[in-house]
Subunit: 341 residues, 2 copies
Amino acid sequence: MTKKPVTIKEIAKEAGVSIATVSMIFNNKDKSISQATREKVLEIAKEKDYIPNSMARSLVTRQSRTLGLVLPDIVNPFFPEIARGAEDKARQARYSIIICNTDDNLEQEDKYIDILTEKMVDGIIFAHSADRKDIARESRKYRMPIVLIDRDYAMPNVMGKVLIDNQKASCKGVNYLLEKGYKKIAYIAGSMNTQTAKDRLDGYKNALAQNKITYDNHYVKIGEYKSQWGMEATRQLLEENIPFDAIFCGNDLIAIGAMKALKEASLRVPEDVGIMGFDDIYVASMVEPELTTIKQPIYEMGYRAAEILIDGIENKEQPRNKSSEGRKIILDTELIVRKSS
Amino acid sequence: MTKKPVTIKEIAKEAGVSIATVSMIFNNKDKSISQATREKVLEIAKEKDYIPNSMARSLVTRQSRTLGLVLPDIVNPFFPEIARGAEDKARQARYSIIICNTDDNLEQEDKYIDILTEKMVDGIIFAHSADRKDIARESRKYRMPIVLIDRDYAMPNVMGKVLIDNQKASCKGVNYLLEKGYKKIAYIAGSMNTQTAKDRLDGYKNALAQNKITYDNHYVKIGEYKSQWGMEATRQLLEENIPFDAIFCGNDLIAIGAMKALKEASLRVPEDVGIMGFDDIYVASMVEPELTTIKQPIYEMGYRAAEILIDGIENKEQPRNKSSEGRKIILDTELIVRKSS
DNA sequence: ATGAAAGCGCTAACAA
DNA sequence: TTGTTAGCGCTTTCAT
């Protein structure tokens, strides 16, 4: 477009020095370059609006200062935060990020791996959706280090993992309700076909066990992650006369639905019924600012993943070839206690 | 990482041909190459797991097949859809996308422009936040074509624009309510400091005018884009005994809040009160599946922007230097009429 | 303190 | 139909 970009060569000529000198100055390898030359070069570069060509640089350094971010779908509200976290860390370290939406399609994923390889990204952050199949792909393709996010996954070249302890999180949430004095806690879950969901249910059971409360599956409703289901399940609990005094919800949509149903039944939150949700998609905070929720450190996952990756890249760490290895970080969730609680 | 990638040279040697031949084959400029050689080369390439180095390629072709997507914040729910649309189109055309969150910070934006220039992106999709200042930045920096999204903006090198007609949209929404038989339509707006918000209010006024209804500012409440405000404003309308029979809401959060307040007052939707919201952040569909909303073609904006950009790049179109030029697309909104209406 | 020169892996004339 | 060669813009020894 427009005018041809100026190159290092022109700067060199203009300044009456060699291109090597200019290059060194721009790479801060200028310990041995006289202040005078440096200043002159810098000035000319600025005046000519010189911007180095990172392609040429990458070609020789074999580093693109670019990371791939592979995720199922940026529109799924779980992922923008990850992307943002990763991008923030990347920016600090002067890396860029290429996003790749795979729609959980293995073929597309493979294609992206190839593209990212072509583009010589220095590493990949892999954010699989929770319900992705567990098979690792053919290994030789992965030429660059990978950091896994949110989900453990058998895969070669893994340099690290950043996960959330969902079990602990829901255990913590239920314990919070118990501490608040609620005794009979129902659980409205979303679908049960993800490990995440299973972990959350386990956490609920653990919390009950810890408090010597017998698990009773009449208190547990399994459906889908929709506010509609939250309403419905709550109505069911009410109709079935389950004597619950609190509801723990699989996510925030469910919690919102549950709150509606409670209001319909003229039950007050939190006076009559305690309620808590997993803030999966950040809807709760927008719609029910008073709902206490379990906030997942999603942003942090992205951030930490980029951190591990960049760290590994810059220290030339070798990624492990067994999925069980590499750096592993388990992040904790946080309880967001809102006004009404 | 791991083993050194194989190059075109090795493939050539192995196949006993020149690198030019291999290159041509991989670039589909192989009209003149014998089937035998082609097959042999392809086979060897596959066997050796050859992946071309796009850096080297870009260096000579001066095309990176990469686009920059500059937006305020991917976490703002407006933008993931744009990103997705852009990415979908880009992928089809074999382009990748680098995301850049600017946080509405001009300095960061400039930095990103430089980075994108370094990385030789072929073009940039610019999605400014609605309340961004209107000054264009210093022009010479922009070396590559730009497509603007959602907001008209004075800027050099603009190849096109993709906008939404907010005025028309809200006019349409209000008209829909009028057609449904509602006569006295209140308007709960968010903040008024964006052009978008002003356009929506204008659309409301237009619709009234078209239907010979006198505009009465008692029917209009201006606040912020939060469900809390939706509740509050609705309560105000009720307390002030404004005889409204429908509410048009500045966005979906406001609409959700309004619905809550109506329920509190035992008013049924849509029997007693019609209600409509702008589906700005796609919360309505998750939380109030029955609310009728105005859906903005956000995904499409991203898609079309990428389309214009790629088209321009591939046809070597010159971007215009006055902001008033370039291709301009005004997208229409869609009414999502849900069950209860 | 600086320059010359050899590539990085590839494409694109131009030759053969 | 295929090979030779000259770069693309930069980094990086190795000289000077």
